[in-house]
């Protein structure tokens, strides 16, 4: 089996697992994440609580399932939003007149002048009582798109002086035709790969933000906030609270990375 196929299959498997766990898991494991069992606080895994309990006595596995759903419900739409915005912006800059490209790229530089987490933290701080999930989707989408936009624009620039584009223009093709028939097709590998990476980016950004207490707001939990609360009581070494959410974020990022590799090389081959 080629390395590419291995990547693809591993990525699909891992990604599928994360999705199934987060969206379907609670139908199999029906314990309520927010019920408090004071008698069983901070208990290591056993038959009653497969992933133990936190310091309030909440069921660890139920919290993990709820946290997964909350994380993906925000991160996935945000990635879609970022993809659409970035693609449209990049195409506009790449195919539009030169002056438009200059303005759009200057604007992009403003966003890219800062690490995206710094911007995220700043915007999250603006909301006085924390951000609602809808706002989080908008914010994450808004923060992660510039990278893709620049990439698309640069790809379009690299491709648009190629001979087959020139030949199509000579035959009378307009910008929309060029984008639809030629450019999207040749930049598809880049789009697929980076679209997949975007999902990883938004999951990471949301987890980081929640980890810092600025993302998904309590009482709702997410992977990032679960990690943070485990870390708050790290002196008690609650490994059953620390490892699972971290491993799930890791699995999501790894899946995105593997899928990107596998799919990308596949599309490129033709």
């Amino acid at each position: 089996m080629s390395e590419r196929r291995a990547s693809l299959i591993a990525g699909l498997g891992l990604g599928g697992f994360v999705l199934a766990f987060s969206f379907a898991g609670r139908f199999l494991y029906r314990a309520d994440p927010y019920t408090i069992h004071p008698a069983h606080a901070l208990q290591a895994p056993d038959w009653a609580f497969p992933l133990g309990t936190d310091e309030l006595g909440r069921d660890g596995l139920a919290l993990l399932l709820a946290g997964g759903q909350a994380t993906l419900e925000v991160a996935l739409p945000a990635a879609v939003l970022a993809f659409v915005t970035g693609l449209a912006y990049g195409l506009l800059a790449g195919l539009g007149p030169g002056w438009l490209d200059k303005i759009l790229m200057r604007l992009l530089d403003v966003f890219l002048a800062l690490p995206s987490l710094v911007l995220l933290i700043f915007f999250a701080a603006l909301a006085r009582n924390g951000l609602s999930n809808t706002m989080l989707v908008l914010l994450l989408g808004f923060i992660t798109w510039p990278g893709l936009a620049r990439l698309v624009r640069n790809e379009v620039f690299a491709q648009r002086r190629r001979d087959f584009i020139l030949a199509a223009q000579q035959a009378g093709a307009g910008p929309f035709y060029l984008a639809r028939v030629h450019l999207l097709r040749v930049i598809a590998p880049v789009l697929v790969v980076n679209g997949t990476f975007l999902v990883g980016d938004t999951i990471f950004a949301l987890s980081a933000l929640s980890f810092l207490g600025l993302g998904v707001q309590p009482p709702q939990v997410s992977w990032g906030s679960l990690l943070q609360s485990a870390l708050d009581i790290i002196a008690l070494a609650p490994w059953w609270l620390l490892l699972p959410p971290g491993l799930l974020v890791f699995a999501s990022l790894l899946a995105a990375s593997l899928l990107g590799r596998g799919v990308g090389r596949g599309v490129l081959r033709r």
């Binding site: 001979d163 000579q170 035959a171 030629h182 097709r185 033709r270």
Partner: protein, 574 residues
């Protein structure tokens, strides 16, 4: 006297798709001191593999069997570093890539010296400067401090030669050293090699795909086809009468100056995995017999030595073709008035005026940097220019619909077809853009595919699945699809192999005759231009310095520069 290079029954395999595939088989070669041998073949023939195997410079995974002797000594892994550069020096194609971009040429030449002779850096530098002067680089002491990108293509190849000869080896292996250089420059490089060969009594193994390059200078010729030797012997014998059908076809396919008709070699080179069991050339051979397909033919002496059961006898040759000198007159089609193109401050095309008549083919020749491609693109309205381009009485602009009346065929067929579109869709594109319905457009595309000599089975393939020559014919079909008034052919054959090039040139000539096509043919190759063009314009530094009917221009050039171009063009003395 021991030969400088001897290769005995050498077979080379390379890993391909998980298996070892033989790319060169049972290869024998001998070169004596002072001798120049031309190793000739098209891409995929194994000629570069043969050259690289001598110093074991093949990519990882290659396996060499047989015996290779350099100066009478068997090449072994242990002695390799002494032999490389010490006994045999190497020069490659594309000197820009072959030189380290971030080190001065002086240090790179000096390195070649120090690796073998040791000594101080200062001594190596002095040696490098002396070598640069020796290969004809002016102001060598100053130029040694420059980086490869600061030299012109020809000068870079001189640097490569200086480096290869730094330790006075007995053998120079030159792998396509003139490919990609302008004809005049290529001729100078050949002259330099000839001089050094005389002065140093150097043996030269000259690898090339282009017979015309070596016709004048080689002592011996060795022709490879699909990994096997097909014909070898003295160059004079070979050029007088090749004895192998492939040798004959190869010689006939080269566009020599004044050539009337090019020999077509039908079909394609077989892939290494799918080679016929008998004579490799049998499937494409015009003289094929049943016996040819059974076993590889043993070499026989027949003037040259050929691996052929039925060596050619002397073929009666047609009298030298006279290029049509009847002056034709054409109705006016395109007129270019005072066209200039600038990039920043540089004037690339300066005040060019020309006319092309209905049904006429105008050739524009010039070396790289002469502005010939820019001129073509300006006429196509692909870039901003000053001046006027008038087609059928209409002045064109980039936004003008009449722009579609001029279509284009580019140099690199791979670049000019979208890898993600099927060939049928590619050809139908201009029709679809002109508003023809999908079904009708595809039907027309299929007909066009037939016109350029390709089968309809290609319609559903992607460009990645066809050969370079086929892709270029697809590009021609696309250019013809909209029924253009004028075709701009920008170096249409430069990226192709000799036999494919012949096929394409014949096709273009036939199309021009049948369809009354008007075209602007841009090329650096005077022989190619003279084969197709009714009239030739010589472009130099953005200006047309001379123009005239093809025969007249070739017979009596006015300008010195034109004379140089004609001298550098391949010609066959019989």
């Amino acid at each position: 006297m021991t030969p400088v290079l001897e290769m005995r029954d050498v077979t080379v395999t390379l890993p391909r798709g998980g298996r070892d595939v033989a790319v060169l088989e049972h290869f024998n070669l001998t070169i004596a001191a002072g001798e120049m041998l031309a190793l000739v073949g098209e891409s995929g023939s194994g000629k570069s593999v043969a050259a690289l195997s001598i110093l074991r410079l093949l990519p990882a995974g290659a396996r060499i069997t047989g015996e290779i002797l350099l100066g009478g000594e068997v090449v072994t892994e242990a002695r390799l570093r002494q032999l490389r550069g010490g006994v045999a020096g190497m020069v490659f194609q594309d000197p820009l890539a072959a030189l380290n971009p971030t080190r001065t040429v002086g240090s790179q030449i000096g390195e070649a010296w120090r690796v073998h002779k040791g000594g101080s850096r200062a001594a190596a530098w002095a040696k490098a400067v002396a070598l640069l002067a020796e290969v004809g680089i002016p102001e060598a002491a100053a130029r040694a401090k420059n980086f490869p990108h600061q030299f012109s293509g020809g000068m870079r190849q001189r640097v490569m030669i200086a480096m290869a000869l730094a330790c006075e080896p007995k053998l120079l292996i030159a792998d396509e050293p003139t490919t990609g250089l302008d004809p005049v420059i290529a001729r100078q490089i050949l002259g330099l090699i000839a001089r050094l060969r005389r002065e140093m009594n150097l043996a030269v193994l000259f690898v090339t795909h282009d017979l015309s390059v070596v016709a004048e200078q080689a002592d011996a010729v060795h022709v490879l086809y699909a990994g096997r030797s097909v014909e070898w012997g003295r160059a004079a014998d070979f050029f007088a009468q090749p004895r192998h059908p492939y040798g004959e076809a190869l010689r006939g396919a080269v566009a020599w100056l004044g050539q009337g008709r090019l020999a077509n070699i039908p079909g394609q080179l077989p892939e290494p995995e799918a080679r016929p069991p008998g004579c490799r050339f049998a499937p494409r051979c015009a003289y094929v017999q049943a016996a040819c397909e059974k076993a590889y033919p043993p070499p026989v002496e027949a003037g040259t030595i050929v691996a052929c059961l039925y060596p050619l006898r002397d073929v009666p040759r047609a009298a030298a073709v006279v290029v049509e000198s009847v002056a034709k007159t054409f109705a006016p089609l395109l007129e270019v008035r005072n066209l200039s193109v600038r990039y920043g401050k540089a004037v690339v095309v300066a005040d060019v005026s020309l006319r092309i008549g209905q049904g006429e083919c105008l050739g524009v020749v010039g070396e790289s940097g002469s502005g010939k491609s820019t001129l073509g693109r300006a006429i196509l309205q692909m870039l901003p220019y000053a001046g006027e381009v008038v087609l059928q009485g209409q002045a064109l602009t980039a936004r003008h619909r009449a722009r579609r009346q001029i279509q284009v065929v580019f140099q690199d067929p791979r670049e000019s077809l979208n890898p993600g579109l099927r060939i049928g869709e590619v050809i139908a594109e201009p029709l679809r853009l002109a508003g023809v319905a999908r079904g009708a457009a595809l039907a027309q595309a299929e007909a066009l595919l037939g016109d350029v000599g390709l089968s309809a089975a290609l319609m559903d393939l992607y460009p990645g699945g066809v050969s370079g020559g086929q892709a270029q014919r697809v590009a021609i079909a696309r250019a013809l699809a909209g029924g253009p008034a004028l075709l701009v052919l920008d170096e249409p054959t430069s990226a192709l192999d000799v036999s494919t090039q012949a096929l394409l040139l014949n096709l273009l000539r036939e199309l021009a005759r049948k369809r009354g096509l008007s075209c602007l043919l841009i090329s650096h190759d005077l022989a190619v231009v003279s084969f197709l063009a009714d009239r030739i314009a010589v472009l130099r530094e953005g200006r047309i310095i001379e123009a005239g009917a093809t025969a007249a221009l070739l017979a009596g050039p006015r300008e010195d520069y034109t004379r140089q171009l004609i001298e550098a063009a391949p010609r066959l003395q019989l």
